[in-house]
């Protein structure tokens, strides 16, 4: 546990008051209504406008180094995300990969020229997509087969990427591709930045069970990437990806946990208080009250865990499996909460066929939220992978034997 000195506490209180005032003035009151059943264009326009609004307040990239436009302390970032959640501000969906994965990759492994080219562009609204997963390389990402063949000062890329969120709107892609087919699988991968306007790229949206299409397949056919867009050394892409993938998880998880604890839980309680056709309310049922109490306890635990992860990451005191624990806990809790919301919502909840874009994972459209929550135990390291990490890195247990 860390104790803040009185000065710091006073500063944080002042900062909190500042963020509250800003939220009261800037969070659009009607954004949920406007973003419900919004078209793709309206969604993109709204996301870009909200990002610009946050940026002008200095709230878009608080985790970046000061010289690039960030520089908030971890304590201030916690306050910022708590307040944005408490005021039910829209969530940055489109900018997510850019401000987190792309930025941390550039900051950790990029050249000065690459940083100067892209970090300011991201602040101006450049959208990024992650091109990692492939049809045969999901959990086992290192077995990816998209190839990048060197041809003088450029690479020629062929292959297929899958589950690229927001691929239709992206300007740039973080791409992992195999540059040495003969090396062991983790030693032959390189990390590229790929301009999505390059010839040979075909992005096809995948319609999912909720009925939206933010996942895309990306087909790459002789796409030329200049060698200057290689991030880190050739064939060291796996190491670059490892260094940057988990790094941002703490604060983004904290934001989601705060959202779940604020608007999300509030809607669940409201849903339980809504009278049913016979006049009774779910809240009058003691088993419903028990369930709500259990969820509130678990959400409090989750918020504490997230705070612990970001502070531990900041001071170097974090455990190697902490981010995995938080992801696993959040994923499964989110599924149970949205499942319960769908139960309480009853048949009427099944008739809600649109949810507000730009919202968190719990929007009050419980059935859609529940189906959407399955996105959490599968990508970004499936729950099985998280459990393996917790077992091996957290508890120091031996690796699972490879079957013959």
């Amino acid at each position: 546990m860390t104790y803040e000195l009185p000065d710091e506490m006073a500063e944080l209180d002042e900062f909190r008051a500042h963020v509250r005032r800003w939220c009261a003035d800037h969070v659009p009151a009607d954004w949920r209504a406007l973003q419900t059943a919004a078209t793709d264009d309206e969604f993109v326009a709204f996301q870009k406008a909200w990002f610009a609004e946050l940026h002008s307040a200095g709230f878009a990239v608080p985790h970046w180094p000061r010289q690039w436009g960030g520089g908030m302390s971890v304590g201030e970032q916690i306050v910022l995300y708590q307040e944005l959640a408490a005021h039910d501000a829209p969530r940055l969906v489109l900018a997510f990969v850019g401000i987190h994965h792309a930025a941390s990759t550039l900051l950790v492994a990029g050249s000065d020229a690459q940083r100067r080219r892209h970090l300011p562009a991201i602040l101006d609204g450049e959208i990024w997509v992650q091109g990692f997963s492939e049809p045969e390389a999901g959990s086992d990402l290192a077995s990816l087969r998209t190839s990048a063949r060197r041809d003088g000062e450029q690479f020629v890329v062929n292959g297929q990427k899958l589950w690229a969120s927001g691929g239709m709107h992206a300007d740039w892609c973080l791409l992992l591709a195999r540059t040495d087919p003969d090396a062991p699988k983790r030693k032959g991968i390189s990390y590229f930045m790929m301009d999505m306007t390059s010839p040979g790229i075909d992005v096809r949206p995948i319609r999912n069970a909720v009925g939206d299409s933010h996942f895309c397949e990306v087909f790459l056919n002789d796409v030329v990437i200049p060698a200057e867009n290689l991030v880190g050394a050739e064939n060291a892409g796996w190491q670059v990806a490892q260094a940057t993938l988990g790094a941002e998880r703490g604060m983004t998880m904290l934001e989601l946990a705060e959202r779940l604890g604020n608007a999300g839980f509030r809607w669940l309680v409201e849903e339980c208080g809504r009278p049913r056709p016979d006049g009774s309310r779910p809240l009058d049922d003691s088993s419903v009250r028990d369930t709500l109490a259990r969820f509130e306890t678990e959400i409090s635990g989750l918020r504490g865990l997230c705070r612990n992860v970001v502070e531990g990451h900041d001071t170097g005191a974090g455990g190697p499996a902490d981010p995995s624990i938080v992801k696993l806990f959040y994923s499964e809790l989110l599924q149970r909460i949205t499942d319960f919301g769908a139960d309480i919502g009853g048949l009427a909840a099944h008739t809600v066929l649109t949810k507000p874009m730009s919202s968190g994972w719990e929007s009050g459209a419980w059935v859609l939220d529940f189906i959407g929550s399955w996105e959490w135990t599968i990508p970004g390291g499936a729950s099985e992978i998280q459990r393996t990490i917790i077992g091996e890195r957290g508890l120091g247990l031996p690796r699972e034997p490879v079957s013959s």
Binding site: E136, A137, G138, S139, D140, S143, L162, W163, I206, R207, N208, A209, F215, P277, D278, D343, G346, L347, H350, T351, L353, I371, W374, E375, T377, I378, P379, A382, S383, E384, R387, T388, E400, V402, S403
Partner: protein
């Protein structure tokens, strides 16, 4: 008491499975979703050829077992047709089928079908279905009802049990699809099925499916015998079916990964079309609530109920 289906019924189920496959298999529900008014044309002939409407499940045990086997095979293919509901038609009404509905929002998956339906609420009030609204997801439509009588208590048990057999067929299929998926899908240089954590998830789901299988047979026997507690047994089966479906679809979706939520996979269709069966007429908590209030303090009679009373 023998609760296993007769060999004739099991063979009938196998024939139905093959006949549905020959009629289009997984493609049937996909075509029917595009045009719900084609449901009868797509599936009606094969059911008639199988002799489905010659079955009299309320009249004799052989028919009852054959009906259960038929529903299970229909579930396996997510057959876009209310087979269980048609087989549940009451003996004393001139209708083509019976659906059990909730009293406040009567819904059933009747969209696109031009048949004569009766609807019964769980307390035995019977209605004639006089109209259906335009179809929603998974052929769901709102029913307009005109009251008939209050003689439906005896009709409801079978009309709850047969759809559970349909759902059981869906769970059979979901398990089969997932087992073949994890055997085929290679990650980390081995099939997913080689990971013990994957195996254990599947075994947990299989325990649920097998338990439901046994309970479905028991309940069919209880309903066929016309036992006093048949409706309680039917509600208990329904509760078990909903719980099993949650576990099975949870595990099968997780092990399919993201692709399981895309309509390229059969699991996605099965899962979507399992929803009305799992939500109508009552979802899990309402079913549990009703069963608990009916059972009060005396509990289920169960397999050994009679003997227990003798022992006392």
């Amino acid at each position: 008491m023998i609760i296993d289906l007769s060999e004739e019924a099991a063979e009938f189920g196998r024939q139905a499975l093959r006949a549905f496959e020959a009629a289009g298999g997984d493609g049937l529900v996909q075509r029917a979703e595009v045009d719900p008014s084609s449901r009868e044309a797509l599936v009606g002939p094969v059911l008639a050829e199988l002799g489905a409407w010659d079955l009299e499940p309320r009249a004799d045990t052989d028919s009852l077992e054959a009906a259960a086997a038929l529903c299970r095979s229909a579930g396996y293919w997510a057959l876009p047709y209310p087979v269980a509901e048609r087989l549940s038609r009451p003996g004393d009404l001139d209708v083509d089928g019976l659906v059990v509905v909730a009293s406040d929002r009567p819904l059933a998956t009747l969209a696109g079908l031009d048949l004569r339906w009766a609807a019964a609420t769980l307390d035995g009030r019977r209605h004639r279905v006089t109209g259906t609204s335009a179809g929603g997801p998974a052929f769901r439509s709102r029913l307009e009802l005109s009251p008939l009588d209050t003689d439906g208590v005896a009709d409801v048990a079978l009309a709850l049990v047969l759809p559970c057999w349909t759902l059981l067929g869906m769970l059979d299929r979901a398990m089969e699809l997932t087992i073949s998926h994890v055997r085929l899908r290679q990650q980390f240089g081995q099939p997913l099925s080689a990971f013990q954590s994957v195996q254990f998830q599947l075994t947990d789901a299989e325990v649920e499916r097998t338990g439901l299988d046994m309970l479905a047979k028991y309940t069919l026997w209880s309903v066929g015998e016309g036992r006093d507690e048949a409706l309680d047994d039917a509600l208990a089966l329904r509760m078990a079916a909903l719980e099993a479906a949650e576990v099975v679809f949870r595990v099968t979706h997780q092990l399919h990964g993201a692709v399981g939520f895309c309509d390229e996979t059969t699991l996605s269709w099965l899962s979507r079309y399992s929803q009305p069966l799992r939500r109508l007429p009552l979802g899990l908590s309402a079913t549990r609530d009703l069963l608990t209030s009916r059972l009060d303090r005396h509990g289920l009679v169960g397999l050994y109920g009679a003997e227990r009373e003798v022992a006392q």
